[in-house]
């Protein structure tokens, strides 16, 4: 039984990593209707900025907050400068531009900071908590809390602030939004900015576990996609839950399904997602966008 609980705990910790980036993906999808393939790389880049600030002598939290500010401005600027020219192009052309951003960020980071992996500090205590035989990593727990906190912020923002409402409207129906006086262009830019902030949080939470290197988010982003797909791209809560589910199920499959073992556990997790999609084509908590014909 201990092993079962320990695997669930470790699955939740890993799932928290997926969930944190999935939130950024969902954020940008909600705000701009675009899937941003560069989200993970932007997060990695922001984490490098934080690392640079810390090494320049800043305190952890000062660097943390500065990074969030830089990430926000960076996100807005990228939308205004890079995405704007293809705003009205087919959706796949925008996806291409995000892919271009992905490779640029990855390559530039390697060029600027080399590919040597760097230790990244954690703001949480070092020693794990122990309950009987079950061990909780302190950083893992802290990271899950941060993810939930970000989720809460997103929920409150979209649900209760006029700005959040305006952003949702701008993504949903740009033409009508413009008619009621919403500055759609800036709403999209804001969406990119906020997504970059959440991505930066994810990066800085992930890096202490995975150590910082230019390919920090490559694998994480794949899982984050899986998490968001499972939970529903229109639901932040769903994406977080999706992350936890993927993390836990993958661990349990790897541990208990003998003939699959660890060599195919990822494949099984993917198959599971496809099965879920067949029953719920927009993910567990996603809503279908009703289109008028």
């Amino acid at each position: 039984m201990d092993i079962f609980i320990q695997q669930v705990v470790s699955g939740l910790a890993t799932g928290g990593i997926y969930a944190s980036l999935a939130l950024a993906l969902v954020m940008i999808y909600q705000a701009t209707d675009v899937v941003n393939f560069a989200q993970g790389e932007l997060a990695m880049f922001a984490t490098y900025i934080c690392w640079t600030l810390i090494h320049a002598g800043l305190q952890y939290w000062a660097a943390f907050v500065s990074t969030l500010a830089i990430a926000f401005v960076g996100g807005v600027v990228i939308e205004r400068v890079v995405i704007r020219p293809v705003e009205n192009a087919p959706i796949l052309s925008i996806v291409m531009v995000t892919l271009g951003l992905l490779v640029i960020c990855n390559s530039i980071a390697g060029w600027m900071w080399t590919y040597v992996q760097k230790p990244f500090p954690s703001p949480f205590p070092e020693n794990p908590f122990k309950f009987g035989n079950i061990v909780f990593g302190a950083h893992d727990l802290g990271e899950i809390q941060v993810t939930l906190l970000v989720l809460l912020c997103i929920y409150l923002f979209f649900r209760f602030t006029p700005l959040g409402l305006a952003m949702r409207a701008a993504a949903h129906n740009p033409v009508s939004s413009r008619l009621v006086g919403i500055r759609v262009g800036w709403m999209l830019a804001l969406g990119w900015g906020l997504a970059a902030v959440f991505g930066a949080v994810a990066g800085m939470m992930v890096a202490p576990v995975l150590t910082l290197e230019p390919n920090l988010m490559g694998g994480v982003q794949i899982y984050a996609f899986a998490a968001a797909t499972l939970g529903g791209f229109t639901s932040p809560g769903g994406a977080v839950l999706g992350g936890f589910i993927v993390g836990v199920v993958e661990n349990l499959v790897g541990t208990y399904v003998g003939f699959i073992g660890t060599e195919l556990k990822f494949t099984v997790a993917l198959a599971m997602i496809i099965v879920v999609l067949l029953v719920k084509p927009t993910g567990l908590f996603g809503t279908t966008v009703v289109k008028r014909v």
């Binding site: 531009v97 892919l99 996609f225 993917l270 084509p281």
Partner: protein, 334 residues
């Protein structure tokens, strides 16, 4: 339309002749590169049928490419079957797999379909490694290049060039007939408005699955050809980036355009090489700049860009035809 038919035919014929003359002008290395371009073009045309014409996004066509390559490699390696026979087998197998995958995929749209197919691309390398007995695991399978038959005085590179080119011409001809005819109109109608298409009596479910199958078959044949041209298959050859690269090729070349597949193939074959010639410090960064630059200049892809230029040049003559020639934007919402 009839007015532009003759110059078009002449243009196509001279292209064909030029392509056939290449093996006697270019070095073997260049021929190898062009064989790869043809292979990519076939794969991209397959993807284009699905994504461009039918509006079903796929981020997983690398998986079919891999299946085609491995089917061909295993047949050649284990049973000594001639590469020529492996092509139709790979095609049919991918047709079936694609069709079967297409059935459940019917329920998915846009983003969710793209990510479901993405899972396929992600899972394939792991599955290939798992069935080590057949696939040679992560070490892959080393193959031999076929020699020219009938005592033809061609070296293997020249011969493979002609083989890939012949397959390209055949598949493009078939594809063009399919897409330009009744079936093609039905496929496009489903993309543009599937409810209206259904109301007009088109069996959308059947069509969509069939397009998925045919698309997979094209990509599978391309994969099978690549096994012979590269003479090696390994899981590392078919990672996620292959699927992404094929998608890049189809969008850059021009969605819903047959010639676009060739432009896209040229792009994914040669632009990375230019990028690394410019900078070895950060070749990906240069490639990314090229990618974004192309999208800025030609948001509808190279084929779309050329078409727009052509329309602009001949605007006075056929204004209304011009507008419809630009690929319409499908699925702005998902």
């Amino acid at each position: 339309m009839s007015g532009s038919r003759l110059p078009r035919l002449v243009g196509l014929l001279s292209l064909l002749l030029a392509a056939c003359a290449l093996p006697f002008v270019l070095s073997n290395f260049r021929l190898f590169q062009f064989s790869q371009v043809y292979i990519y073009a076939i794969a991209i045309l397959g993807l284009n049928m699905l994504t461009g014409y039918n509006g079903q996004f796929s981020l997983g066509h690398g998986a079919f490419y891999a299946i085609g390559a491995y089917v061909s490699a295993i047949m050649m390696d284990r049973w000594n079957i001639a590469y020529g026979w492996t092509l139709p087998v790979a095609g049919v197998l991918c047709l079936v797999v694609g069709f079967l995958f297409g059935l459940p995929a019917l329920r998915l749209e846009g983003l969710y379909l793209a990510l479901a197919t993405f899972s396929l691309a992600l899972a394939v390398p792991q599955i290939l490694k798992y069935f080590e007995h057949w696939t040679g695991g992560s070490q892959g399978i080393v193959l031999s290049k076929p020699n020219a038959p009938f005592g033809l005085k061609l070296n293997p590179d020249q011969w493979l060039y002609f083989v890939t080119f012949a397959v390209l011409v055949l598949l493009f001809w078939l594809g063009a007939n399919l897409l330009k005819g009744r079936i093609g109109r039905a496929i496009v109608a489903i993309r543009d408005n599937h409810i209206a298409a259904e109301a007009m009596g088109i069996n959308t479910a059947l069509y969509k699955s069939l397009v998925f199958g045919v698309s997979a078959a094209y990509t599978g044949v391309a994969g099978a050809l690549s096994a012979s041209v590269i003479a090696y298959v390994a899981p590392d050859s078919f990672n996620v980036f292959l699927s992404v690269t094929l998608l890049i090729g189809s969008v850059i070349g021009g969605l819903a355009s047959i010639s676009g597949a060739v432009f896209g193939a040229l792009f994914i074959q040669f632009v990375p090489n230019w990028a690394q010639d410019i900078s070895k410090a950060a070749p990906w960064a240069i490639f990314g700049v090229f990618l974004i630059g192309f999208m800025y200049l030609m948001p509808f892809g190279i084929a779309g860009g050329i078409r727009l230029l052509w329309i602009r040049a001949t605007r006075s003559r056929v204004p209304q035809e011009g507008r419809s020639a630009v690929p319409t934007q499908a699925h702005t919402t998902t």
